[in-house]
Every structure is written in structure tokens, then in C-alpha cells.
């Protein structure tokens, strides 16, 4: 009899536990769908509290060895960056770098990136503030992605924005393709609407989450990644490593086919200007609202291999890139943008695994050319 009573109690207990557990799970899922994407939850971080903030936005294709992984939640990404460490110190002249993988620093240690080199040169503004650069670039070529980052970066009170650009970031079809833009409709769409950006033909590339995608189960991957990102904080703090540095890599392509002259399906002699998102650069200037922006046409590899007389590199046929340079130069003059063209300042030997990725020596040559234009802003 005692066993039976016990059995009945346990039966009841299991049943109750199951029902309560299931109910809580359903309620929690339902409630979670009301938590906005990119809301305050993403801002909860151990970085800048327990671990030092990261020197670059999180990005990693090999998390196990890079101690870094790619996230799409910008709130989580910014929360782990050193820019989020606290209010801007009075003695700091804050420079923000946005841009692509060249600025982020693929195959470069944080101190060897262009941002790292600026910081190591102990520059001071005319009012005595120490120049400190925050690397907010992200490895994908899209001006819209840069604009998204810029919008958030502006909340951190910068004194100067350096925006390295390259032609590959301009084609309209490249703008929303990047996962960071495609997975953040709540940031991208208001920007597109506000500035009437010319990307409207590609709005279908934006991933709009369904109700189920917003539940706890639907967002399990995002939550898991955000948690994992926190755990990698230990190794970031312990090693200072945030990407893998392979000893051997495939060097950037220098030989090309003789008829390889197309750029995104466009052929010589001129680029279709309406298909290049110059309007995003304009939007960036409006968004900056008076905070100076230094536009930099970033260095590219000028190859010396087979058929290099028709192509500069893997990305660019000569005709397209030359036209782009003229176009931006004219646009900058016309719009009064601060613009420097540093496209050829790095010799071919200083490029690594891509036509826009360079060695520490390459980055230093780049800095040497950038230093003077940068200094001109420090006294404004």
C-alpha cells in the first residue's frame, strides 16, 4: 500500500512537473517574441567589465582557433567592443574607423591595423587631447553596412570619422547581401527610408523574422552565439587573439584571363553611376551632422602578373577602377567631402591573401600617407 501511495505521488509529481514545465516554456517563448531584436538584452555583456573590450567588432569564421565568431546582433557586437567601456574621457580625441576587411585587419594583429598604428603614434589634437582610434570596421564590402555601423558609432561621441572605401563596396547589389545588413531590418530599413537610398530593388534580400523566428526557440542560435561570444572573452583577455594567423595562405591573385574585363556584369568604358551607391556616402555625411568625415580611397593591389594591363587585381578591371577614382574625386570636390586617394601607396609585395589585405609593413606605409590628412583635422 505504501508503495502504491508513493507511486501515485510520484505520478502526480511527474505530471505536474511536465505540465508546469511545458506551460512555462510556451509562455516564455511567447513573451520572448515581444523582446525586440537588437534590444537591450544584446547590450548585456561581460566585456568591458570582466574582460577587456575587444579591439575590433566580433568576426570569425573559425571560432575554435580565432576565439571570435561572427554575430549579426549589432547591440551584442558593440557591447563587446572597447568603445563601450564607458563615457568618453575628457582627454580623448575620439576617432572612429569604419570600413571593410582591410580596415578591420584580416591577418593583422590589432596593433598592426591602421587604427592600431594611429594609436601607437601618440598623436594629440591641438587642444592637447590624445588621439584614440576605435576600429569599427567589419569584414564585408557594403557601404550600407558601414552606414549602419556609423549610425550606432555616432552615439559614442566621435570627434572624427575615418571612412576607408573601395569600389567593391559601391555596387547596389552588394549592399544588402552582407548578412549584417540582411539580418538587421530594424536598422537597415529606417536608414533606407530616411535617406531614400537607391537599394530599393534589393529589399527582398532583407530577412524579416516571422513570429516563430522571434520566439526563444527561433532565436536560439542568436542567444547561443551571444553566450559563446561571452565565453570567448576569457581567451580574448588571456591571449589578445581575435583571428587565426595562418603561416601559409593563398596569396592574392595576380594573373588574369585576357578577356577578363567585366565588373559586376558591366563592361568598358564607363560604370553605370546610378548603380553605384554614392548616395550612401552622402547619407553618411548627413548622419554625421557636422562631425568631420575623412573619406579614404583605400590601397589596392596593383598586380604585375599575366594580363595585368587589363586588370588591377581580382576585384577590378582597370577601366572600372579608373572611372571610379575620377567619379569619387569629382563627387568629393562637388560635395565638399574631405577625401584622400591612397589607392597606390602599398607595393604589391605587401599584400597578403586579397587585393585589399596587407601586411603590417603595408599598413604602416598606408598610415604614413594618412597621417598628414589626419593631422589637419586635429586642430579644427
Amino acid at each position: 500500500m505504501i508503495t502504491e501511495d508513493k507511486d501515485i505521488n510520484y505520478n502526480q509529481f511527474i505530471k505536474n512537473t511536465m505540465i508546469k514545465g511545458l506551460s512555462l516554456f510556451i509562455i516564455l517563448n511567447f513573451m520572448f517574441s515581444f523582446v525586440p531584436k537588437g534590444g537591450n538584452i544584446g547590450g548585456i555583456s561581460l566585456y568591458n567589465r570582466v574582460f577587456p573590450g575587444r579591439a575590433r567588432l566580433p568576426f570569425g569564421e573559425n571560432p575554435r582557433n580565432a576565439y571570435n565568431l561572427s554575430l549579426y546582433d549589432l547591440a551584442t557586437m558593440f557591447a563587446s567592443h572597447e568603445i563601450n567601456a564607458g563615457p568618453k574621457p575628457d582627454e580623448e580625441y575620439r576617432v572612429i574607423l569604419i570600413g571593410d576587411s582591410a580596415t578591420w585587419g584580416i591577418l593583422l594583429e590589432p596593433e598592426d591595423t591602421i587604427g592600431g598604428i594611429i594609436n601607437s603614434n601618440n598623436l594629440k589634437s591641438c587642444d592637447g587631447r590624445k588621439v584614440y582610434t576605435y576600429n569599427l570596421a567589419y569584414p564585408s564590402m557594403s557601404l550600407l553596412k558601414d552606414l549602419m555601423i556609423l549610425e550606432i558609432a555616432l552615439t559614442y561621441d566621435p570627434d572624427l570619422i575615418i571612412w576607408p572605401i573601395t569600389l567593391e563596396s559601391f555596387p547596389v547589389q552588394n549592399q544588402i547581401q552582407t548578412p549584417l545588413a540582411a539580418n538587421n531590418p530594424h536598422i537597415v530599413e529606417p536608414l533606407i527610408d530616411r535617406f531614400e537610398l537607391s537599394v530599393t530593388d534589393y529589399l527582398s534580400d532583407i530577412n524579416h523574422p516571422s513570429f516563430w523566428d522571434l520566439t526563444l526557440v527561433g532565436r536560439r542560435r542568436t542567444i547561443f552565439d551571444a553566450l559563446q561570444h561571452q565565453f570567448y572573452g576569457v581567451l580574448w583577455a588571456a591571449t589578445g587573439i581575435d583571428q587565426t594567423y595562418p603561416i601559409n595562405y593563398t596569396p592574392a591573385q595576380q594573373d588574369f584571363l585576357e578577356d577578363d574585363t567585366m565588373f559586376h556584369g558591366w563592361s568598358s568604358p564607363i560604370l553605370p553611376v546610378e548603380k553605384l551607391c554614392v548616395d550612401i556616402i552622402k547619407a553618411g555625411h548627413i548622419l554625421a551632422n557636422g562631425i568631420p568625415i575623412l573619406l579614404v580611397n583605400e590601397p589596392i593591389l596593383i598586380s604585375k602578373g599575366k594580363n595585368s594591363e587589363i586588370r588591377y587585381n581580382y576585384f577590378y578591371p582597370r577601366w572600372a577602377y579608373d572611372h571610379y577614382r575620377t567619379l569619387i574625386q569629382n563627387q568629393a570636390q562637388h560635395s565638399g567631402w574631405h577625401y584622400v586617394d591612397l589607392w597606390d601607396v602599398i607595393p604589391v609585395a605587401q599584400f597578403t591573401n586579397s587585393a585589399v589585405h596587407f601586411t603590417p609593413q603595408g599598413a604602416f606605409l598606408y598610415y604614413q600617407q594618412l597621417e598628414q590628412p589626419l593631422k589637419e583635422f586635429l586642430c579644427q
Partner: protein, 475 residues
């Protein structure tokens, strides 16, 4: 084992318990266990080896049973039925080669059915020969143990593994120069070998009655404990086998609770700690000894939670099936000395080693030599821990790990012999000191084992030594 695989196997355990009553249950358990050893075997670079290893597992189990079975045991209808049943399951698995070019149950496409049947008949024929025509089995049992240890040696020693892999690659017309030590990843062999050796030794010494092939098969390849233990004993296991009790709500509740704890420990805590636990890569990259301590201690907890989590899952799954598997961990990091730690860490393995290595060696040395008792303690403790170390892998780092713990146990033995009573009396006289003494012992034990894990976690002995130096601010 992934979370999905774990959940599926546990769900099977529950299903078997609920759907199949009494005798049929053991047949279903056998079938699922056979399928599981094929299903869990990871893909291997040597062609079809991921099928032949589980097949060899069954073959070795058959042959070792043949060595221990009573004469005419093969005429027992039940044993014959088991053999036929095993053959049928393996054939069914092999037939999946006609369903898909890639493996469905197996990691890759199974070999030709005829080849499998042939190998199976060879194993079965040899088993029948061993049972029926071997009159004096003692030397054959010893030889069997020797063979199992040889296979163990090949699988666990990197040099022998690479050599054997290159030979196998040559045999299967693959490039021998690509041989790697990981090529011979025979799933569950460490546990399988110790289970078989235990049965062979106990049968040899008459400590174990005749075993039916069915219960022996289930004992050796019982799927909840096949991968990561616990290392059960036949005497204990067959009690559960013979008393497949009806399900009670209390059992179900306790097993569910145990399962939840296991899943939480393994897939949440251990996997989270694994992200930043010490490894060959990060050990060289960490900039300060403080962080090196952090990742070393993280490894201590990760290893415990991973292993203890698996044990919880295995015990819960075993419980669902009606088997009461032994405990493997009992708060090891809360012990105040190394002896207590080893009484509570991987309990089933340490008990196995104690029974089949430590005790016989101690008896032998005490009876047959004039060595001083203290030297006997030193030899037995160090050699026992070396054996435990080498069970994990026959390489220098595990050897040193064994020595580290062997000496630790010896030092503790001498310490407690010399000062133990005095410290205990002091603690009793001054009650305030008791927590301090306990905490000191606990911390010392924890840090001693954590430092030992450096040898355990880093396969290169040089790197482990450098890491140890760096932990103490040198190097």
C-alpha cells in the same frame, strides 16, 4: 556523442522500458546496442574501417565468450538464438548499402554483404570451435588477454597506431604516407577491453559462473555505458539482467532527474567551459600565468562535468532499461586528500584497476619479496596510477600524469601515517581549526589534481612542462 544522439538513445531506453515487457526487453536491448555501436562509430579515413571496427567488437566478444563458456554451451538453444539474432541485426545493417551510397546507420556505406557474412561466419565458427573443442582453456584465456592488450597497445600508442594505419591503408589500396594516429579510432575499445579482461580473469579464477552469450553481449556492449562507462562488473550487471523490474514512477522520476542533471552538466556547463579550457593551441598563446591558471582550472571543471554528465546520462538510460549501473563520481573535488579524491573519481575504473592490478601486485610483492613495506606501497601506488594513465593513452604525458598521481598518493599515505593522527587530534581539541584543516586539504588536493591535468590535457610532454613552468611564473 552529440546531444541529438544522446537524446535519441535515452528516448529508446524509455521506449523499450514502456513497450517491451520481460524477456523480450533483453532482445530489444541487444538489438539497439548492436545498432548503437555501428551508429556511434565515427567515420574513419581508412575505407570501411568504421564498419569493421564495430564488427570486430562483436567478433571479439564472441571469441572471448567462447574462451570462457562451458563445453557444449553452444548447444544451448538460447546461445544459438543469440548468435543468429546478432547475425541478423548485422546483416540488416549491412543491407543499408543498397538503400544509400552513404551510410544511414553507419558512418559510411557498409562493405559487401557477402564479405560481412563471411567474416561473421569466421568469428562464429571460431567461437564454436573454442567452446566445443578446447579442453584446457587456461592458457588460451591468458593468450586472449594478451591479444586484447596488444590491440589496446596499438590503438593507444601513437607510433604503433600510425604504423598499423599505414599497413591498413596499404591493404585497402590507400596512401600509407597519409597515416595518422587518429585513423584507428575504435569506438569504445578502452571500456570493452577492460570488461572482457574482467570476465576472462574472473572466469579463470572461478569467481564467475557460466555466462550465456546473450547476457555477455549485452554486458559488453550495453549501449548506455558503451562509450564512457561506468565500467560495470558482470556479477553486478547480471543481477539487474535477471531482475528486470517493472517500471515505477519513483524510478522514472529519479532517472529523469538524473538525466536532466547529466544533460545540464555535459551539454551546458562542460561544453561552455570547453570553449576556454586549456588546449595545445591556447596554452602557448596565453600571455600571463594568471590566465593560464584560469584556463587550467576551467579544464579541471570541464573534464569533471563532461565525464560526470555522461555518467549521469548513462545511469539514467540504464535505469530506464531496468539496469542499475554503478556510480562513477562522488564529489571528487570536495575531498581533502588525494586518496579520497581517487576513491571518488572515475570510481568504476579505479575499482577495476584495484581489483585486477593493485591488489594482485601488492599481494605478490608482500609474499614474494623482501622489499620494505614502504617501498611496496611506493611501487604499487605509482605503478597503479601509471596503468590508469596509460589506459587513457600510451604516451609520455599520460605516463607522467600517472607518476604525478602515484607519488601524490604515496606522499599522502606517508603524511597521514606520520601526522594524520596528530592532525586529527588537534582538530578535535581545537574545533575552530577543523574547517581550516579541511579547507587547506581541499585546496591542496584540488590544485594538485589541476596541475596534473596539464599533463593530461596537453599531448606533447614538452609543451606540458613549459606550461607548468609558466603556471608558476617561469619560462
Amino acid at each position: 556523442m552529440s546531444l541529438l544522439q544522446t537524446l535519441l538513445l535515452v528516448a529508446f531506453a524509455l521506449l523499450i522500458r514502456l513497450v517491451f515487457p520481460g524477456k523480450i526487453r533483453s532482445w530489444v536491448i541487444l538489438a539497439v546496442s548492436i545498432v548503437a555501436i555501428y551508429w556511434l562509430q565515427p567515420a574513419l579515413p581508412i575505407r570501411q574501417l568504421d564498419f569493421w571496427f564495430p564488427t570486430a567488437t562483436l567478433g571479439i566478444v564472441f571469441l572471448s565468450w567462447g574462451l570462457t563458456a562451458e563445453k557444449n554451451a553452444i548447444r544451448d538453444c538460447e546461445n544459438l538464438k543469440t548468435m543468429g539474432f546478432t547475425f541478423s541485426i548485422v546483416m540488416l545493417i549491412s543491407l543499408t548499402r543498397y538503400v544509400s551510397i552513404e551510410g544511414i546507420i553507419t558512418a559510411s556505406r557498409p562493405p559487401k554483404v557477402f564479405n560481412i557474412a563471411l567474416v561473421f561466419f569466421i568469428f562464429s565458427g571460431l567461437t564454436v570451435l573454442l567452446v566445443q573443442h578446447l579442453n584446457t582453456k587456461k592458457s588460451f584465456i591468458v593468450f586472449g588477454i594478451f591479444l586484447i592488450l596488444c590491440i589496446f597497445l596499438i590503438l593507444k600508442n601513437p607510433l604503433l597506431s600510425i604504423f598499423s594505419s599505414s599497413q591498413l591503408r596499404f591493404l585497402f589500396s590507400q596512401n600509407p604516407t597519409l597515416a595518422k594516429k587518429t585513423d584507428l579510432g575504435w569506438l569504445g575499445f578502452s571500456y570493452l577491453s577492460f570488461r572482457i579482461i574482467h570476465v576472462l580473469v574472473d572466469r579463470l579464477h572461478g569467481r564467475l559462473k557460466d555466462i550465456k552469450l546473450g547476457e555477455y553481449l549485452i554486458f559488453t556492449i550495453f549501449y548506455p555505458s558503451f562509450l564512457a562507462g561506468p565500467l560495470d562488473r558482470m556479477q553486478r550487471f547480471r543481477r539487474g539482467f535477471n531482475q528486470l523490474n517493472p517500471i515505477t514512477s519513483e524510478d522514472t522520476f529519479q532517472n529523469l532527474a538524473r538525466l536532466s542533471r547529466g544533460l545540464f552538466r555535459k551539454f551546458i556547463l562542460a561544453d561552455a567551459l570547453a570553449v576556454f579550457s586549456i588546449s595545445s593551441i591556447n596554452a602557448t598563446q596565453v600571455k600571463s600565468s594568471g590566465w593560464l591558471w584560469v584556463i587550467t582550472i576551467a579544464y579541471s571543471f570541464q573534464l569533471f562535468l563532461d565525464f560526470a554528465g555522461y555518467t549521469d546520462i548513462a545511469i539514467a538510460a540504464g535505469g530506464f532499461l531496468g539496469f542499475n549501473l554503478p556510480e562513477n563520481f562522488n564529489r571528487p573535488y570536495l575531498q581533502s586528500n588525494l586518496t579520497q579524491f581517487w576513491n571518488r573519481w572515475h570510481i568504476s575504473l579505479t575499482q577495476w584497476i584495484r581489483a585486477y592490478f593493485f591488489n594482485p601486485l601488492t599481494r605478490y610483492l608482500r609474499r614474494n619479496s623482501r622489499i620494505h613495506v614502504i617501498i611496496v606501497i611506493l611501487i604499487t601506488q605509482v605503478s597503479t596510477m601509471i596503468v590508469i594513465g596509460l589506459w587513457h593513452g600510451i604516451s609520455l604525458n599520460f605516463f607522467i600524469w600517472g607518476i604525478w598521481h602515484g607519488f601524490g598518493l604515496f606522499i599522502h599515505n606517508r603524511w597521514s601515517n606520520t601526522f594524520g593522527l596528530r592532525i586529527k587530534t588537534l582538530g578535535e581539541k581545537q574545533q575552530g581549526l577543523q574547517p581550516f584543516i579541511h579547507a587547506s586539504g581541499l585546496l591542496l588536493t584540488f590544485f594538485y589534481t589541476s596541475i596534473g591535468w596539464v599533463w593530461f590535457s596537453l599531448p606533447e610532454a614538452d609543451l606540458a612542462w613549459q606550461t607548468l613552468l609558466r603556471l608558476f611564473g617561469k619560462g
